[in-house]
Assembly symmetry: D2
Homo-oligomer: 287 residues x 4
């Protein structure tokens, strides 16, 4: 399955009638585990890249190019479609274009560009979100769409405007971004079904939802046009817990064999690292 086919599969989900959740992945191996479990869509977030490659918080200290390098490592081997959080495009509209260009080349299936100020402005609190103007944001969305080479690549406009400008401001932004040609609207922080219904009424585009604080079923979500619902960062935290337990056991003198029931089997590991494929190549080309 090549990158265009992976993009088309993501498009099919967005064009469908169900609401699904992607697997949070963060490196090549985690993506392989997710697809072994059955996932067809993975999600890579800036916070995950920052945590695992820089051991840094989500404060935009990573660069487009090192982010793209991590995407490439994943997509070199992953069969799942990968949706990536492209933050605000790391600067102005030209930087948005470079983000789209590099992420597309790295093999991403879809990405979102957000209408927020980032990195933090002088004096801005860490937990405060600020929006850039609707005109500037629309320009960035247009730039993102124009920078795409493969028409199958999904570009989503992401906004946390609900909490900052309320539903009116959000609707104005959604309409403007839809007019810019994006493929989906990514709404952060809704907490009422009426919000989703209003956004769904305002645009024909499929919705992606993150940080949802409500109690809708997936069917109710789907009825509001939501095709992708993001869940939290559990994968990395689960990894960390497993690492802590493993390291603690060994550091305190525990025997490696005691951990046998807590680790993946050799067969699982072999499958994840494509051992049989490599063996076949050895047989075909090296004897």
């Amino acid at each position: 399955m090549n990158h265009t086919q992976q993009r088309d599969r993501l498009r099919a989900v967005l064009a469908g009638s169900k609401c699904v959740s992607p697997a949070r992945v963060y490196d090549a191996l985690s993506a392989r585990v997710a697809e072994a479990v059955g996932y067809e869509i993975g999600l890579l977030a800036g916070s995950g890249v920052a945590a695992t490659t820089l051991a840094a918080p989500d404060l935009a200290v990573h660069t487009i190019t090192e982010y793209a390098d991590q995407i490439r490592r994943i997509m070199r081997v992953a069969k799942l479609s990968l949706f990536v959080d492209g933050d605000n495009g790391y600067g102005n509209a030209l930087n948005v274009m470079r983000t789209v260009e590099e992420f597309e080349h790295a093999g991403v299936s879809g990405l979102s560009i957000e209408d927020t100020v980032a990195p933090l402005a002088f004096g801005q609190a860490e937990d405060e979100q600020r929006l850039v103007s609707i005109e500037e944001s629309a320009g960035k969305m247009c730039a993102a769409v124009a920078a795409r080479s493969d028409p199958s690549l999904v570009i989503a406009a992401r906004t946390p405007a609900l909490k900052i400008e309320g539903i009116e401001g959000t609707l104005a932004r959604v309409k403007k971004y839809a007019a810019a040609g994006v493929d989906a609207i990514f709404v952060i922080g809704p907490d009422k079904v009426e919000q989703l219904q209003a956004i769904h009424a305002a645009t024909k585009l499929p919705l992606i939802v993150g940080a949802f604080h409500g109690t809708l079923t997936r069917e109710q979500m789907a009825a509001c046009g939501v095709r992708i619902l993001h869940q939290g960062h559990l994968a990395i935290a689960a990894t960390v817990r497993a690492l802590r337990e493993t390291y603690s056991h060994l550091f305190n003198g525990g025997a490696p064999a005691d951990l046998n029931s807590k680790i993946a089997s050799p067969q699982q590991m072999e499958q994840l690292i494509n051992a049989e494929t490599y063996r076949q190549w050895l047989r075909e080309y090296m004897r």
Copy 2:
């Protein structure tokens, strides 16, 4: 703690009287977890880099430079000393020199160069190990030592000769490599205390042991001159198991909240990603 200090701490372990085991780490975050548990020394192996960054088996398809990039990501943030498996130096003596140069620049505390044929030769079986001649290997060890800029960097000569050439061949190699100026001898696959004793008698250098199939205590190991004992690849397999369970739960419709007892706490995550340090920087330089 800078790279030279990290190297000196590794040297102190090698010059000491105990036998310790390093934590197997594979990315920046796993290294941070290991040091949070108390580890002072980490180990990064080519097999781990291949598995997590390429989803590939340990067949030398990764390059020196992408290996160095992973080391750099780890050492940018890690306080632990990192020992790295440098395989056979990825080519001839000039490639050994480039390996030492790039790994040192990336911040490694110590690395080993092995006297094996790699990548697999035409017709060589996947599980067959072949040694290069003692003269060629000694030249590579001399080259490794000469390529070092920081005299604190530890260079170990690694050999699996015990299984291939027996104790006599191994002792000849160990003496030759010691004469080349390496700082430690890394023996793979011993299964008898007499082997370790003979090697210990043949050189004053500290020993590192991997793939040990015996039943010595750490004190007995230490009495044979062994300062570092490698344990298996448990960390990555533990990670994979945790990922499988997390992904399976969510893929099958399980609630994220059900996983709360299986993940690291927000406080632990914050500590690992240096959140408080970044917050202090925000306070000092951005308001």
Copy 3:
């Protein structure tokens, strides 16, 4: 023009009836100059990458991945088709596959895999070339072909066998490599038209020729099936001379203005760095 189209243009040259020479390029800017002059095909050699990025001789100390990074920098902006010297694939057949994979991803239009021993073996003289066996070489050519994703990517088998095994050995190799499915035969060091005629008679594949020491016209070359003739490394040496003169002038106190007649005009520089395109983006997306 996308990468597949660039590959198809290279294929059209190979399928044509003329013998052309590519421009030797080494970075993004030199490729832009070459295409501004009219070149449709560029050539990037390992020796050029080693010289300009590592200031090292052509001894295989660079890695596949840093080579691919340089290719990517060029192909991000170049419209010309790029043929790349892939040396011997940097290891065994698995490394050949990785070379093809990474170079293809970086955007290369075609590459050659050579049947030589590299890096230098222990005891091998710097100017001595050694061939690997015909069986092993054929396996590498099969692996290269299998590793290709885009069927338009050109894969050439390169051999300097004429000087080592003479015409008989060369013909045997050419036939074997053609049977492996390569798209072209790249012959190094012919000095007689009869050699080219014999190779042309032995295979229907188009020929690429390097290090030719004879006096054939392009028409005569073309009649022997030669479609691409490599000329020497003049571009880098011309660059160095220009740099030496510029630096010497200024270092010795010369006025910058004295150099005006020896540098590209601001208009030429603007065209090379796509200044007008960026300006148009600023107008469209940022006001």
Copy 4:
């Protein structure tokens, strides 16, 4: 000569009494040419990196990490001290810290952080420069100083304030940046000796000057405290002209041999790529 010694040499120039100009370099090979000519200090600018690696104008579309990669390629082999234009640190104070960290690790001897808005703000004209507030700028300078590991690394505060805020605003900024702990003041665009004298009187720090539009001698410059005077981007433009002439000649059917008088000699090329050093390694470690 290691990186700290290279930094100390740059510091010696700043602490001296002369006004010198560095060589504009842009890749490993150009740096080797500059030092062969006699230069002890090189200058790498964002515009040069953008032009040669991205074929893009100086609009901040390159990232910190790819800039650092280019610095590393240069400093892996260069003996000269390298001063780098760090633009505005590519974001906020945290990004400034990352810039200093990555550039220092890559081996830079000194770098400047500018107090301008970059990348271009929405609606900002391409040739318009905007300053960030003095408070925010001072925070970034403090952050840059704090992010340094090697105390020998030179950090300069760069400002084009003369044209925007006049001499009064400039002096206020210079004093504030000096108080932040930077090692030098980098003034862009002065055109009168009185401006330099006023700045020199306001701070004890050495001055660096760029885009000077006046007619001072070097001795007069030095008397105003100027230790480094930047000249234009001639090296790249000279390279481009040489490439155009070489490519045009060959493209139009000219013989390679006709260019012999316009290229560096094989002996010069060998010296630049350290051929003799590699040969010595081959002799010592591979036979």
